[in-house]
Structure formats: structure tokens, C-alpha cells
């Protein structure tokens, strides 16, 4: 059993993990950088340790984090998502320090992190793959192989960095000329971004849906799935809205989940993970990648299954076997999750850090908030701009959308620009309401950015009162 857990992360996911740990009676330790000293997760944990001046670099410093765990007497570390969560050295170093790492072992992270190895493993158990190449050698050989691949499968083609992920390190090309030019650029970008210039090719799929399967695997070889999530609504390969379950036909849903379990077993997977697929217009699905960590969007799966994934992660890490079987999992209703960020959608979603002068949130049936801020908190410019993750649950799609609209209307955030008006525009958009979307949704609906920012009438009047107060008279009566 774990007695004290150090959460090697910040913001909403740190709080999310702390909550499950506290429910299990596990003491929690938060870490923070000096530049992040007012963050909410520090207040939620039982203890907190400053691991350095920051910004960003100390949250990536394995030695400092392990030192903090040892200093505070923690016996386990949860990496959350981002930062060190998919760094294979982290579990190794934890193990060496006598700490439980809440996640899969290093070799699995390593294998799944390598797109080429992951594809090989999937291929070995018959999980459908998007036609693709192995690592392309640099120079003329690589170019020759790329040309041959293009001639065989046609365009579009995706040039991918072996070490990329989360939408990073991907370049789409539509002609031979673009391909040859793109190979050089992609290789150079990969070297700069990931420290590894290896690249490979994949056939591009037109207007695919992004569907992923949540899996749980214990140390005894039990692997179950918790259904699908549709994460097709993306902007520049970054997920914006996630939905559980996906709306695939039942047989396809069954097949994709079975394929995910097969993939996890083949990989020897342990703990919680996500197997991602692309689904084409004919409902053919292709393996994309495995994410070896808890994901931002795990909340939608929790809403439709009732299972606390982080709690299960902690129990698995503590050596327990899964307490339920596949047949115990049932999917009920529909859940939608979105990230409310301090960003200005009209300015290319540029982050807008700043002081949150007012923070009022919605509530009521079917609304879950995983927040990272409080009224009076100044969102630092050094980290992501997430304010709160909103997850709504409805008995069906219609109810979930109606609830999402109501929840968005229930926010009152003053001080920073947010993505709320953009989401409100989506909720009112006909294709979304009819559940018709794929990964091209945002690009094909540019009108979503033409929303009007609505100011409450009472705020307008308060603004006038402030003017009267400032001037000592009402300048509009003269």
C-alpha cells in the first residue's frame, strides 16, 4: 500500500491526483517551482516542497523531484500528464530510489514512445496500422524510399518525428515536391524539438475521426478497456473537446476496444493508458499511438463508467489486481469535456495570463469541474493557461449538449480573456449539435471565431457607476 504520494506535477491534474489519493487515505506531497508558488495544487496537498526557482525547468528535473520525495518520506510518485510523465528515465530513477512509480514501467514507455517499435508490436498482433515506413535513413536513400511510398499509397502523406506526439512533429504533404522539401525540414525540426532527428512516413487519411480507448492493466496480466472517446475536435492537432463514448457503430466500437486490449497485452502494458486510433469515413480504424499516462480527457470516461481511473492507477501501482472484470464495465450516457483556457481565440488562441478578478463557476447535476485557479489568482505566464476543465454528463448526446450550454453560461470569469465564448459558439453550431464532426471540424467552421463577446448588462452599468465615481460627476448628463 502507498502511504505518502508525491505528485510530480502542477495545476488541475495535480489536484485531481491529490483528491483520489486523499480518498484512499494516502498523504500527499505537492511540489512547486518558486515562480508557481501561488498555485492551487499547493494548497490542496498535505505538504508542499519548493523544488527550485523555475520556471518549467525544475518540474522536469528528476533528481530534484526524487530528492523531494525522499525528504518528505513519500513512497510513491505520480507523474500526471505532460512534464516527466512519458520520460522513460523517470520510472527507472524512481525505482532505483525505492519509490513506486504510478504508471507503466520504463521499457513500456520507451517502446510505446518509439512510433516504429510501437507499430511493430501492433502489427504482431494484427492491430490495423496506417500504411507507413520504417525510420527513413537520411540523404538520398531516405528520399528514394519516400518517393516509392508516395507512388504506392498516394497523397496526402504525413511525415512524423519518431519522438513526436500530442500533435507535435507532424507535417502533412500533398505532392512529391512538398514531400521532398518536407523531409529535410521535418528532420531538422525533429532534431531541434526532440533531440532526435529520426522520421518516418504514414499515409494520410482524409477527414478522419480521432478515437481512443482507455485501458487499465494490472501486474497480473489483466487488461480491460473502459470504452472509447472521440477526440476529433482539435485545433492544430491539439484536442479541444473530448466525448465519451464515440458514436461508432456498435460492432466497430467492439472491434476497436478489443484491438486496444490486444495491443496493451502485446505491449505488456501495466497501469492506465490510452490506445489511439484514426477512423476513416468507412469506419476502418488504424492504430495511431499509445499514451502511457493519465490523459487530460480521462474525466469523460470516468463519467460514463463511474470508475475513478486515478484511484485504479494508485491501486495497481500498489500491487493490487483489478477488482473488476471487463463484463463489470458498462457505458451509460454521454460525457463531454473541454478545456477552458485563459486564451484569446480571436488572436490565434494566444495565451492571456493575468489576474483572475472574478471566478464564478456553474454547478448542479451532471457538471464536473477540475479547476486550477481561484478568484484573485494570477495565472503565471510560464505554464499552460488552463483555468478549469469542464466535464458534463448527460443521459444522451442531446442532454449532454444542453447541459454543456448551461454550464458555459454559468461561468463568470473576469480579468482574463477565456475560450468560453468560442465554446459557446460551438455548442450553438448545427454540425456539432447533430454530432457531425471529424478532425477537420475547426478548420471547416471558421465562423466559430466570429462570436461576439457578451457583456452582462449589470456590468455595463457598474462600469458607468465607476466612471461617475472616478470623475465625481456623470459626464454623460452634461
Amino acid at each position: 500500500m502507498i502511504n505518502k504520494l508525491l505528485v510530480a506535477n502542477r495545476g488541475e491534474i495535480a489536484i485531481r491526483i491529490i483528491r483520489s489519493a486523499q480518498e484512499l487515505g494516502i498523504k500527499t506531497v505537492a511540489i512547486y517551482e518558486e515562480t508557481d508558488r501561488f498555485a492551487l495544487h499547493i494548497m490542496k496537498a498535505d505538504e508542499a516542497v519548493c523544488i527550485g526557482p523555475g520556471p518549467r525547468k525544475d518540474y522536469l528535473d528528476i533528481d530534484r523531484i526524487i530528492h523531494a520525495a525522499k525528504e518528505t518520506g513519500a513512497d510513491a510518485v505520480h507523474p500526471g500528464y505532460g512534464f516527466l510523465s512519458e520520460n522513460p528515465n523517470f520510472p527507472t530513477k524512481c525505482r532505483e530510489a525505492g519509490l513506486i512509480f504510478v504508471g507503466p514501467p520504463s521499457d513500456i514507455i520507451w517502446n510505446m514512445g518509439s512510433k516504429v517499435i510501437a507499430r511493430k508490436i501492433m502489427q504482431s498482433v494484427g492491430v490495423p496500422l496506417i500504411p507507413g515506413t520504417e525510420n527513413l535513413p537520411p540523404g538520398n536513400d531516405g528520399e528514394q524510399k519516400a518517393v516509392e511510398f508516395a507512388e504506392q499509397h498516394g497523397f496526402p502523406i504525413m511525415i512524423k518525428a519518431v519522438s513526436g506526439g500530442g500533435g507535435r512533429g507532424i507535417r502533412v504533404v500533398n505532392s512529391m515536391e512538398e514531400l521532398l522539401k518536407g523531409l529535410k525540414l521535418a528532420r531538422s525540426e525533429a532534431r531541434i524539438s526532440f533531440g532526435n532527428e529520426d522520421i518516418y512516413l504514414e499515409k494520410g487519411i482524409n477527414r478522419p475521426r480521432h478515437v481512443e480507448v482507455q485501458i487499465l492493466a494490472d501486474n497480473s496480466g489483466n487488461v480491460i478497456h473502459m470504452g472509447t472517446r472521440d477526440c476529433s475536435i482539435q485545433r492544430r492537432h491539439q484536442k479541444l473537446i473530448e466525448i465519451a463514448p464515440s458514436a461508432l457503430p456498435p460492432l466497430v466500437e467492439e472491434n476497436i476496444c478489443e484491438a486496444a486490449v490486444r495491443a496493451a497485452k502485446a505491449a505488456g502494458y501495466v497501469n492506465a493508458g490510452t490506445v489511439e486510433f484514426l477512423v476513416d469515413e468507412e469506419n476502418n480504424f488504424y492504430f495511431l499511438e499509445v499514451n502511457t499516462r493519465i490523459q487530460v480527457e480521462h474525466t469523460v470516461t470516468e463519467m460514463v463508467t463511474g470508475i475513478d481511473i486515478v484511484r485504479e492507477q494508485l491501486l495497481i501501482a500498489a500491487g493490487e489486481t483489478l477488482s473488476f472484470k471487463q463484463e463489470d464495465i458498462s457505458i451509460r450516457g454521454c460525457a463531454i469535456e473541454l478545456r477552458i483556457n485563459a486564451e484569446d481565440p480571436k488572436q490565434g488562441f494566444i495565451p492571456c495570463p493575468g489576474l483572475i478578478e472574478v471566478y464564478q463557476s456553474p454547478g448542479g447535476h451532471g457538471i464536473r469541474l477540475d479547476g486550477a485557479v481561484y478568484q484573485g489568482y494570477e495565472i503565471p505566464r510560464f505554464y499552460d493557461s488552463l483555468i478549469v476543465k469542464l466535464t458534463v454528463y448527460g443521459f444522451n448526446w442531446q442532454e449532454a449538449v444542453d447541459r454543456l450550454r448551461r454550464a458555459l453560461d454559468g461561468f463568470n470569469i473576469v480579468g482574463v480573456k477565456t475560450t468560453i465564448p468560442f465554446y459557446k459558439a460551438i455548442v450553438e453550431e448545427e454540425d456539432f449539435k447533430k454530432r457531425r464532426f471529424d478532425t477537420s471540424y475547426i478548420d471547416s467552421h471558421p465562423e466559430l471565431l466570429s462570436y461576439k463577446e457578451k457583456e452582462e448588462e449589470i456590468d455595463k452599468l457598474a462600469k458607468l457607476i465607476a466612471e461617475i465615481n472616478a470623475h465625481g460627476y456623470n459626464p454623460h448628463t452634461l
Binding site: 452599468l461 470623475h471 460627476y473
Partner: protein, 549 residues
């Protein structure tokens, strides 16, 4: 309860009515005594009592109010009418109109006049129309549209005194009115300058009544000289059916005399206040008395009746404006000199009626004559008057030397005044740009489609309407705020609580938490419906020294 009846039914009711009827003219009280600033807040607070008081009508629109609503009160004149109609479901709603000058100061094109009257007729039951030159053709389009909309029309004779202002003259005008609009109207006497003795008014009422026994007569007077109570009594005793009154709670000087005073005097003459609820009239004033202090700063610098009106003859609204303007120009000590000049100007300019827009032309001419020499700096509107753009002079034309001085002023083409009149003079149908072009211009400026009501306001006052709409976009419907806030002076004390209801009846609350003064800005922290918010307003450095209060 006359609301909902047809114009004919209302007219039959008035004709057959055994008692006298009162119209409460808050619009004129606001305009004549408070520079038009009475806010909907006050009107609505008193509405239920006024509606139960048994008034024939309630005048709340027209005159200068449409312009002042937009410019100084930030109230949509149409919305105000909707609010008042809803709050006073039993009482007819009345508007005053300056014939082809509508609610403005210059003649409007015919298509604009028709559109404006048709739009306002959605909410106006009674149209009281006058022309400052008593040129009846100027009323024609307005009256036609009002009648077409099924409304009650009160074409009014601007009343004055002097050798030319005989009963015969007014009867001739009354005949012209009847020839133009027929007999299903009410003939109005508009004694805007509080002139004439009770006997004079009574004799005019009797004269009209003799010639037109089936047409009811309405008397609208001002109490500038303090004698209008007597004139109203005389008018009623002579057979006028409707007179216009104020609420004593306003303590007005230059507008109408109070309803209650009239009722009490008439009782002594044996007139029972049929259909009038005196208790409600008293309750109205109890409310209004509490509100009056908010508007005190808009009252004339000289308060009290002004018997000098017999000489200067300014209409009620122009009297307080005249005092204020004289004060601003540093001419208050010379006010009697200006008034003497004004009396002379009126005489020289054809003994016309100093009521809008004539009052502005005559007053500014008198002031200019005092400041710069007689007719040395004539205004454009004076030139228009001499050119006959507002209509012909009713009695006689001004002397030639005035024509020469005014019309030839700053002319570079060497044209003589008689040639100018011949080529440029006369009442001409002012050219109207195409409505669709105007609307396009308006919508381009707004950056969105305009509603029909917005467009009507734009046709009346283009620049002020655009500014008003922009104001509402930025600040919302500020008339929801109490006058104590809207007219607040000084800073709000920490802990001040401001409460008000919105359109939907929801109560709101803004608590001032603190005021922080920086070098070039003032930061106000408040709880807006219990949500903490701060607003930083850039200010001139000199306002930093303001004290709370």
C-alpha cells in the same frame, strides 16, 4: 378608461362630457422647469397614481424631449413610451409636435415626417400639434399621418397678444384648421408664453365655440406669470373641455399650474371633479416631492414666477434656458436689457410667437444684438426665417433694413436682399435623400442592421442617435439607475449600496467597496450582484482632489 377606444369614440366622449378634463403634461414640466431631465425612474414611480387619477391624457413625448432623451438622458424615446404605456394602461398618451419641424428645429422632408409620425403613433394616442408661425399648411402632413393612424389630433393655435392677435385672426386660423383636417379633431389654444387675461382667453374660447360648437376645445397654458390658474378657470367656464396641468409636487414655475389648485378653485365655482381621483393626485405629488431634489440643479438660476414674460413673451421652456444662457455668458445682470431687446426684436420680426423654434431664433438674435450690435451677427436660422423657410410671416414683414442687414451679411456674390429672396426664398419642399441611402449610411456607421425605430431616430437626429446607440452598447440601459446615481456629484462613500430593478423585474445591487486614487486613474472596487469587481478609469489629474460625497 379611454385607452383602447377609437378616436371617434374618444371625441364623442369629450364632446358629451359634463365636467372638465385634465391632461397631465410631465413632458412640458420637465422641459420648462428642469431642462427636460426628469428621468423615467421618476415618471414610472408616479405612474400608478397618475393612471388612477383620471386624467384625460398624459403628455410624455414630443417637444424637445425626444432630443433630450437621446442626448442628455440616454433613453430611447420609443422605449420610454413603451414603459409609460405599460405603467399607465388606462390613460391616453400624448405627444407635442412642432408641425413640419417635428421634434427638432428645422423643417423635415415630407417622407421623413410621415415615417416619424407613423412610428410614434404606435405609442401615441393624442397628437398636440402647433406651428410657431401659425401657418396651418405646415401642420398638414403631421396631422394627416396622425389621423391616418387613427389618433386624436389637437391642431393648436399659438396664442399671443397685441393688436394683430385678435379673435378674428384666430378664428380665421381655426377655419383653416377645420378646412384642412375636418371636424373630428380637438382645437387647441397654446398659450406657451402665459399671455392674456382670463377674460381674453374666455372670449377666444367662446368665439371658437360659437363658430364650431361640435369641436371640443383644449387649453394648454403656462404659468410663467403666475396667472394661468385664473386663465384655466376662465377657459373651462367659457366651455373648454380639456386643460393641461402639472403636479404640485414638482413645484414648477414656468410650466403648467398644478392640477389640485385648479380642482379646488373650480369646486368653488360649482365644478365637481368628475372622474378625477384627488387622493391619487395627492399621492403622485408625495412621490414626486421626494424626487424633485435630484433635479434641483437643472432649475433656473432665478426661481419664482416671472411677470416680465408679458414683455419678453418667451415660451415656458425658453425662460429657464434664457436665464441659464445669460448666466453662462455673464449677462445675468443685463437680463432685463436682453428682455427689452427681445421685445423689440419680436416686434420687428413680425410679432411672431416666441415658441420653438421661433423662441430660439428670437432669443439668440436678441442676445447677439446686445453683444455685437443690432443684427450685426445674424444666425443662419434668422436668415432662414427671413427667407421664409419656416413659412410666411403671419401679420407683416420685417422692415427692409433688417432684410438687407441679415441676408446680405457675409455674401460674397454681391446679391441684393430682394434678389436673394426672389431666388432662394420661400417654403420649399426640402429635398430628401433616398430613405434607402440614408439607412445604408446609418447601418454602415453602426456596423450592423438598424431597427426601424433606430432609423426613425436617425432621421430625426442623425449624429445624436449614433452616439446614443454607441452609448447603450457600452453602458446598457442606464435609465434603470436611480436619479441619485445618474446625477451623483462627488465620489461614492465606501459601503454605498445602489439598488435598482431591470427590464425583467430582477433586483440588482451594486455595493461600492473602495475607491483607490492613483496619479492618472481611479480604481473603484465593488460588489456587482455580490460578485467582486474592479474598474479602473483614467482621469484628469485634477479630479484626484475631489472629496467624497
Amino acid at each position: 378608461m379611454l385607452r383602447g377606444k377609437t378616436a371617434k369614440e374618444v371625441l364623442d366622449f369629450v364632446r358629451d362630457y359634463k365636467g372638465y378634463l385634465l391632461t397631465n403634461n410631465e413632458r412640458d414640466v420637465s422641459q420648462s422647469d428642469f431642462k427636460g431631465r426628469i428621468m423615467p425612474w421618476t415618471t414610472l414611480r408616479a405612474a400608478a397614481h397618475r393612471d388612477s387619477a383620471g386624467y384625460f391624457a398624459f403628455e410624455i413625448s414630443g417637444g424637445a424631449s425626444v432630443h433630450v432623451d437621446l442626448m442628455k438622458k440616454q433613453v430611447n424615446p420609443f422605449e420610454k413610451l413603451r414603459l409609460v404605456r405599460k405603467a399607465m394602461p388606462n390613460t391616453l398618451i400624448q405627444a407635442g409636435c412642432r408641425s413640419h419641424n417635428l421634434f427638432g428645429y428645422r423643417p423635415y422632408p415630407e417622407d421623413v415626417i410621415r415615417k416619424v409620425i407613423a412610428s410614434f403613433s404606435e405609442y401615441v394616442d393624442v397628437w398636440r400639434v402647433y406651428d410657431f408661425l401659425n401657418h396651418i399648411p405646415n401642420m398638414k402632413t403631421v396631422g394627416e399621418e396622425a389621423l391616418k393612424a387613427g389618433k386624436i389630433l389637437i391642431p393648436s393655435l399659438c396664442f399671443g397678444t397685441g393688436p394683430e392677435h385678435s379673435n378674428e385672426f384666430y378664428l380665421e386660423k381655426a377655419n383653416e384648421i377645420v378646412d384642412t383636417f375636418g371636424k373630428d379633431i380637438i382645437i387647441g389654444i397654446k398659450n406657451h408664453s402665459a399671455l392674456g387675461s382670463p377674460e381674453k382667453i374666455a372670449s377666444l374660447v367662446e368665439a371658437i365655440k360659437t363658430d364650431f360648437p361640435d369641436i371640443p376645445i383644449a387649453y394648454h397654458g403656462h404659468n410663467t406669470d403666475g396667472n394661468d390658474l385664473a386663465r384655466m378657470v376662465a377657459a373651462i367656464r367659457a366651455g373648454a373641455k380639456i386643460v393641461e396641468v402639472s403636479d404640485h409636487g414638482f413645484g414648477a414655475w414656468y410650466s403648467q399650474a398644478p392640477a389640485l389648485s385648479l380642482i379646488q378653485v373650480l369646486e368653488d365655482y360649482g365644478y365637481e371633479p368628475l372622474g378625477l381621483n384627488v387622493k391619487e393626485i395627492i399621492k403622485t405629488s408625495e412621490i414626486i416631492r421626494q424626487e424633485r431634489r435630484y433635479y434641483a440643479k437643472f432649475e433656473s438660476p432665478f426661481r419664482g414666477v416671472d411677470p416680465l414674460v408679458r414683455a419678453h413673451r418667451l415660451t415656458g421652456g425658453a425662460v429657464s434656458m434664457a436665464y441659464e444662457q445669460a448666466e453662462k455668458l455673464g449677462l445675468l445682470p443685463r437680463i432685463n436689457e436682453i428682455f427689452e431687446e427681445l421685445a423689440m426684436v419680436i416686434k420687428e420680426l413680425g410679432n411672431i410667437w416666441p415658441v420653438t423654434p421661433g423662441s430660439q431664433i428670437l432669443w439668440s438674435t436678441a442676445v447677439s444684438n446686445i453683444l455685437y450690435g443690432r443684427y450685426e451677427q445674424p444666425s443662419d436660422d434668422l436668415k432662414r426665417l427671413l427667407l421664409g423657410k419656416y413659412g410666411p410671416f403671419p401679420f407683416y414683414d420685417p422692415p427692409e433694413w433688417i432684410y438687407q442687414k441679415v441676408l446680405e451679411h457675409k455674401r460674397t456674390d454681391g446679391k441684393k436682399w430682394y434678389d436673394i429672396i426672389r431666388t432662394e426664398g420661400g417654403l420649399r419642399s426640402t429635398s430628401s435623400e433616398k430613405m434607402s441611402d440614408k439607412k445604408r449610411e446609418f447601418e454602415t456607421e453602426l456596423g450592423r442592421e438598424a431597427s426601424d425605430e433606430e432609423f426613425v431616430l436617425f432621421l430625426l437626429f442623425p449624429r445624436d442617435t449614433v452616439n446614443f446607440i454607441k452609448f447603450v452598447d457600452r453602458y446598457g440601459k442606464t435609465w434603470h439607475l436611480p436619479p441619485s446615481v445618474w446625477f451623483h456629484e462627488g465620489r461614492f462613500e465606501d459601503g454605498t449600496r445602489i439598488t435598482f430593478s431591470d427590464d425583467k423585474g430582477k433586483l440588482h445591487c451594486i455595493d461600492i467597496v473602495s475607491t483607490q486614487i492613483a496619479e492618472n486613474s481611479v480604481k473603484t472596487s465593488c460588489l456587482v450582484d455580490y460578485h467582486f469587481k474592479t474598474y479602473t478609469v483614467p482621469v484628469d489629474t485634477k479630479v484626484r482632489t475631489l472629496r467624497n460625497g
